[in-house]
Symmetry: C2
């Protein structure tokens, strides 16, 4: 049936390997990719699982399709009936099949996005509102900004993307890899002309990857270590980011030059990367001081490897002899004091097995002399780092001049070469690969990313408490905030040591101190490896001062102290932030120490959990303004560090919108943003998307800095204040004060079953206690997503909007939506999530899982959902969810609307059956749990035909039920990813 596949590809308009044309239609691309992947998948399924199972798959699909178009409950029941007939091992396989289909569908969408992006750049289709740096520059020029203004803003702006391991990073690496290759091959089918054989082989390879994804056990059996997460994160640098940065920078240069500006300056990078993997110890006991050390060294080895290859290639390139005096002097200097004679140089390099240039480089190739020495130093650096990794007692020797000890030891010689080439008239060559390497050195330094350290504020207070009690100053924890600040200030100003070397304390405190000692150590032996110390759950100024003091007491020299960023997570802390910052800045020692720069992190996810999204969104908007204002009072420039939750929004991609929704004056040229787990894959997994991501952030920051959005009108603020007050009150009343809620949550969602999913190295529960408060933000949102209820997003909207409308604010609200980007974004994001909510599925979860006593509570919640939709539509004046009447000519409006609805509709054809499947096994799992003779049934061996030979001998019914649940959770999660 290779033929049928070939015929299918040949007859398709995009996947036939006839090379790409001008016209492009994302909808058709998705259709054709879907059809191809589905055909392949079914062929694989038939071959491995047999026709009977394939039939079941298809009939459920048709049933789901019928229900999708008729919305008739009878069709729903027909579909449900089909699924009831499956044995547990068929369900297992069914769930796995649909989860694969969803992943394959996601690939189709990613492919369509990548292609749409390409066609935009080829001007085949008009680009929407300006979303590239180039576009931003043009837009600003049109807006009357001069090129100097634009250049000087762009030249100093800074976007720092912080990669974090997201606990639900669900797909195993090998499956991610297979899907990556499938994506790559689909792109090849569209872009290149292929001969019959090439096309056959491409289709073959897609097939074998679909097969291996299907045949791999997609449940991760052992939790990953932080080092594993780090390794995973680093592969993105190898694959896309390392080369993506210079390509992007070159593009920015091109558009600057096109507008008569010079290139971006060499001595800084407008984009850098940070990481939390192996640094974030908040609630992750595996992230220890030695783990942090491993992670730093590993990133460094990786970085040095990439630099080594870059320098090696430069040696080839810079074979010319013309140079200026600086290069001549440097080359002479190197040749003079390399006291080894040529023979040993030859032998030495032979040993190192360099690609080339073993012979000592003659002085009439001055650039090579310089670069060969950099190569030797990088080689030695790598060896030195390896030794450090191999033995915890070995450390980098900072007096060793045969290694590269800091970024600058690499940067300076390269710039000398660069300026020399320009001076002798080889600007052409200077601005070729050499410039790329300089950009890479500037952006990535020696270690690719700067690692942030994150820890909870309590841990520092406990550490100081252990110290003050030990030396008899009393108990730090019992002091008032003033006493703490007064004490911390006094200690920071005095040169007297505080930390006794024979302190007795708990292991937790020991770990906090070891981390600070490790920070002191890494700051000296691996300069530039660490970024910011983030304090989660920060509530007061002493939280910050405590960390500064702890660092110093553990051996940090003044110039090695990490800047400390408080993370205000809960709403109340957020509202209190300005006061805390004022208190902090009025500590003279600290005000001088930070020299006018303070970084503040504002959390998204947690605050949504405790006040509902609207209140959280407004609190964040308002909070940012007030903290920036607080900083300005002490003329401290604030850099806001955004820990962003979900990923790409509707239409133009999130960052842009997210940026627009920043209050004016809170960006001014520099922001730090976290990029969570699976967003890393979509934003950086593929070259085009990587480019697009960098382009987007840079453009948005540039615009927001030079053309900040207008300030909202005061009456809009008052409306927002009242709105968040109403919604927050209603949210908390429902979630924290309504007794039925806990029961409803525990029954209507798989929240309770989440813990056992071992996704990510971080345990799901904070300190274990029942109830909602104990749940972390991510599992909380994750649970509601499973039943497609998304309650945390909209709860409180209906009551607050209703009251405002009753108070005659409808026009104001509409006005706010039309002309206040922040409000527009917030509403759109809510609308987008509402579009994904499926009341039918929610009702089904209720019917099947919630005991009748709570049914009317559930009904009222579903009522509020409907209410919220109406309010959102009323305010946004959309004729339907996601149906925005654009400034359009006639015919275009209709198909935009269908496009989106169509996309969601496509997905839920796969998701709904998974929901049904999940409900069924939630019932089974819970039945097992509260049956006092549970073990009789749960332990009896199930003969699972498709799994015989599986190396897990003790596979029983309970295990099977668990696995079905895990897979449905992953599938639904994969399905709920935001749309492209």
């Amino acid at each position: 049936e290779g033929e049928a596949l070939d015929a299918l590809a040949r007859s398709s308009s995009y996947l036939s390997g006839r090379g790409e044309t001008k016209e492009f239609n994302a909808h058709d691309v998705i259709e054709e990719c879907d059809e191809l992947l589905r055909t392949i998948f079914f062929a694989v399924v038939r071959e491995t699982a047999g026709d009977k199972f394939l039939g079941q798959l298809k009939s459920v699909y048709e049933a789901s399709e019928k229900f999708g178009s008729s919305h008739d409950p009878k069709d729903f029941d027909a579909m449900q009936a089909m699924l009831e007939t499956m044995e547990v091992d068929e369900s297992l396989q069914f769930a796995s099949a649909y989860s694969n289909l969803l992943n394959l569908h996601n690939i189709s969408e990613q492919v369509a996005n990548a292609m749409e992006e390409r066609h935009r750049r080829l001007d085949d289709i008009p680009r929407g509102p300006a979303k590239t740096t180039n576009g931003a520059i043009k837009g600003l020029l049109r807006a009357g900004k001069s090129t100097e203004e634009i250049y000087s803003a762009l030249a100093v702006q800074h976007v720092d993307l912080v990669l974090t391991a997201h606990p639900t990073q669900a797909l195993r690496r090998s499956m991610l890899k297979s899907f990556g290759i499938i994506r790559e091959k689909l792109l090849q089918l569209q872009r290149f002309r292929l001969s019959r054989y090439e096309r056959a082989e491409v289709l073959d390879e897609i097939r074998s990857k679909v097969a291996s994804a299907w045949r791999t056990d997609e449940i991760r059996r052992t939790p990953p270590k932080p080092q594993d997460e780090m390794r995973a994160g680093l592969t993105y640098f190898q694959q896309t980011i390392w080369d993506g940065i210079p390509t992007f920078m070159r593009r920015v240069d091109t558009s600057l030059l096109a507008n008569g500006c010079p290139r971006l300056p060499l001595d800084r990078s407008i984009v850098t990367f940070g990481s939390w993997m192996g640094g974030d110890r908040d609630g992750n006991p595996y992230v220890t001081a030695s783990c942090t050390r491993d992670v730093v060294l590993l990133a460094r080895v990786q970085g040095v490897n990439l630099l080594f290859r870059a320098i090696q290639r430069l040696i080839f390139d810079l074979s010319m002899w013309r140079c200026n005096d600086a290069v001549k002097a440097l080359a002479k200097d190197i040749l003079e004091n390399s006291e080894t004679d040529n023979f040993t140089i030859f032998e030495e390099r032979k040993k190192r097995n360099y690609d080339d240039f073993w012979k000592a480089i003659p002085e009439h190739e001055p650039y090579r002399v310089i670069l060969a020495e950099l190569r030797d130093k990088l080689y030695n650096t790598r060896e030195a780092l390896q030794r450090c990794i191999a033995d915890n007692d070995v450390n980098i020797d900072m007096n060793d001049e045969t290694i590269i000890r800091s970024k600058d030891e690499l940067f300076a010689p390269l710039v000398v070469c660069y300026e020399s080439l320009i001076e002798v008239g080889d600007a052409q060559i200077a601005n070729a690969y050499l410039l790329d390497v300089i950009r890479q050195v500037q952006c990535f330094g020696l270690g690719l990313v700067k690692l942030d350290i994150r820890q909870e504020s309590d841990r520092h207070a406990e550490a100081l408490d252990a110290v003050t009690r030990y030396i008899g100053l009393g108990s730090y924890l019992e002091w008032s905030e003033e006493q703490k600040i007064e004490f911390l200030t006094r200690e920071l100003e005095s040169k007297r040591p505080l930390l006794p070397s024979d302190l007795e304390c708990s292991d937790d405190v020991r770990e906090v101190l070891d981390t600070c000692k490790m920070i002191a150590h890494l700051q000296q032996t691996c300069p530039g490896a660490l970024g910011t110390y983030v304090i989660s759950m920060a509530t007061s100024a002493s939280d910050v001062l405590a960390v500064v003091l702890l660092q110093r007491e553990c051996g940090c020299r003044k110039q090695d102290l990490l800047r400390v960023a408080p993370l205000f997570e809960r709403l109340d802390d957020l509202n209190d932030a300005p006061r805390v910052l004022r208190q902090l800045f009025s500590v003279k020692w600290y005000h001088d120490h930070i020299a006018g720069f303070q970084e503040v992190m504002i959390g998204y996810s947690d605050s949504g959990k405790d006040a509902g999204r609207m209140a959280a969104a407004w609190a964040l908007y308002d909070g940012q303004e007030r903290v920036v204002a607080a900083g300005k009072e002490f003329d401290v420039a604030l850099t806001l560090f955004h820990g962003r939750g979900g990923t790409v929004g509707r239409g133009g991609g999130p960052a842009h919108i997210a940026m627009l929704s920043q209050p004016p004056g809170t960006v001014n040229g520099s922001i730090r943003v976290t990029v969570q787990g699976e967003v890393i894959e979509t934003d950086f997994g593929e070259k085009e998307n990587c480019f697009h991501t960098l382009d987007l952030y840079t453009a948005s920051v540039l615009e927001h800095t030079l053309k900040p959005p207008a300030h909202p009108r005061d009456e809009w603020r008052r409306v927002m204040d009242r709105m968040s007050e109403y919604s927050c009150a209603h949210y908390r009343k429902t979630v924290f004060e309504t007794p039925d809620f806990v029961g409803y949550f525990a029954q209507a969602t798989p929240g309770a079953e989440l813990g056992s999913l071992n996704i990510g190295s971080r345990p799901a529960k904070r300190k274990p206690s029942a109830g909602v408060t104990a749940l972390r933000a991510i599992p909380w949102i994750f649970a509601w997503t499973q039943s497609r209820f998304h309650l945390p997003v909209w709860l409180g909207i209906s009551t607050s909007f209703r009251r405002l409308i009753d108070e005659g604010e409808l026009e104001t609200l509409r006005d706010m939506y039309k002309s206040w980007p922040f409000f527009e974004v917030t509403i759109d994001l809510v609308e987008m999530v509402l579009a994904k909510a499926d009341p039918v599925v929610v009702a089904y979860y209720e019917r099947a899982l919630v005991d009748p006593k709570l049914h009317d509570f559930g009904a009222s919640l579903r009522g509020e959902l409907q209410e919220s939709i109406d309010c959102i539509l009323a305010v946004s004046e959309h004729i339907g969810l996601l149906a925005k009447p654009e400034k359009v000519e006639a015919n275009e409006a209709v198909q935009v609307h269908k496009k989106l609805a169509h996309k969601l509709h496509k997905r839920s054809l796969y998701i709904t059956p998974l929901n049904v499947c999940q409900v069924r096994y939630l019932i089974a799992a819970r039945a097992l749990e509260n049956e006092e003779d549970g073990d009789k049934l749960s332990m009896q061996k199930v003969k699972i035909t498709l799994l015989e030979g599986y190396p897990f001998q003790d596979y029983n019914y309970k295990g099977a039920v668990n696995d079905v649940l895990k897979i449905t959770m992953k599938g639904i999660a994969a399905g709920m990813q935001n749309t492209g």
Copy 2:
């Protein structure tokens, strides 16, 4: 002027980055590439050397163009006059500019070839006579062969491509690299749709590479070491061959499957690679025993690196748990006796800094368990090899089970995995990347290539002589052949050692013995690293026996003895070869030892030097038949090892033709062929060409084996006998017996100046003595190519053909041309070279360099040239050189003719000025040499404006003259490369 460049690319039909279309015209592609590269080059020249010089370049170009179309001596003189006005430093720059223009032109041709090849595979243009394996299979099926026949022939056939360092491998690696990138970018411009920015950046990069090629000192200042040559050779494996082989094998499989045949067998490879780099010590004193060791170890490190990466990727792929019992057992066995606990595994792998999978792999991933162990073993092998490279006393420990000691230790586990995947129904996955890796392991083993050892026969005789004299058996050199054979046979049969441990001997003999000891050593510690021992200048059976004996006496175990291949280089040795082989095979010990297989190498280049091409070509054809026949008498299957001279022939590429011109029955399924220096770049430098090369050889061998060409008729043999007798007699009379010839050669060509060109690690002269016999074949042919006379190719044709035509054999000759491929090929090759001969230039060299006494001798030689052309045209019935009236419809004939002539014409526009330039400085160089106060002029400092700052302080007039000569030689050589 970036714009102008962009505009130019945009307006071109192939280079505008609009993606590729169906229609393709090689001529236009070359035109457009030429124009683009030339525009870029001129822009670079203007920027760096100024307008004045650019003007000179262009005016010489126009003058050369005028002369090219008018052939009017006055135009020639006008051009010559322009060149006379240049100072030596302008000439230096001029020569360098034209040499660059030629290299750029060559790139255009390579690009056109690569694209033409692509369009053929896309069926855009009809493929000429079948030239792919796929085509060959179809052809054979049409010819009535059954699929079983084809499969069983293909499955056992063997093509061994032996890479040798060609002494004139003139371009420095870095320039080769730059040109490689230019080639790549031109292909991108044609194949892909590029946005305005992408196109701008591609053009930018072409520009910077053109600039860096231009700005690099293209004269290699220090001769390369054999290890350098080896490194250079190995890079082709990294870049194209490593991935090229599985792609090619997959393609062969696809066409076999398409014809209902199974895949090629796993346990052998139809293509393998050999190398002489670092093994060929014939006339190269730098190739010592330790050099051979280095080269073997280096290739192994390289191979192990590539295998390591392949296995690493396989670990990702084979994540599934289903397997058969063999895999289960193997995985269990590995897990059981890996006595290290998980923690150390984790730590150990962390130390090794593997990409992933540090944790011990659980047994439910059985393939990964197996592959992870292979990975560890490969890692250890690499470390072990590094230690051997670093310290000559350290060797591979063959009892060390933690390393991979032979290819099979890698191959066997992979096949187990392969069969297991197929058994459990994952054939799809088995035949994906895993199959590729198995192919690579089979083809490349651990060391990528098998190194041949080559040494002159005399050296072995001297070595044995030193031994026999030392132990008082008399002097081996003074024995007759019978005595030698009788002695060697007796020693081979006896177990008594012959080599005394305290032998006194010369260093040369010492080196021969050290090499044999090294062979013994490498055969044990690096199995599969060595190939054949080639004896150059072989003349007798004792030459072969001597090498076998020397190997054994130096410690080779019977199963480690390298097979010995005699190389019959001179015509007389060639004719005597069958007798020698009979004598050899009648030695019982040897006949049993070779177990029915003998390899014989037949040399091309040298024999042409001593008898002229026609006699050489015929002697080779005839010789092959008779040696194969001699083998058959003793039922010994011969494998002929072809040391091929020049590269790709006309039209369909050489191998095919070369193959056709093999006598029937001399191929039968296996051949070894050398691939010389710069042919490696064109045949393997680029992915398409690499694929095309493998495809070509396989197809030709397949056809020649299953559909051998017809035997020539006897009267054709007699005609050939008389022809080679006449031409050989005339050739030797002119070259070796005409006293004027030596003078003429020394004056009319730069033969004498060649020595100083340090091209290649091998010194140009054999033992230094005056005259032609001392010259090696390559410098000999190289010298005549410079003045575009190509005398060694045609000398003797005119007299021999004339006599045959006078004897009324014209019709026979025409008949032979039409229906005897061998004769057709030989004539076409001569014709092709004649088309490159330029009598005007030759006359000019004569006029300017040869003293008048020899003018009429020169005139007679040029007369013979013209005669030869007429004879060739008479026999081939072409209306003009290279104008073959194909079986054509009307309009096609005309443009084929113009195409070729046009190509040559394009080149000579650049070459002729270089000739003029060369003549001028040959006069200067010779004037310096025989002027008794030479040093006054030659030493005076020339102020060379364009070179100030050059780090060679002592740069004087003589040096400048030399450099001009070196560059013109390289340029003309680059121009004379065979056409595409």
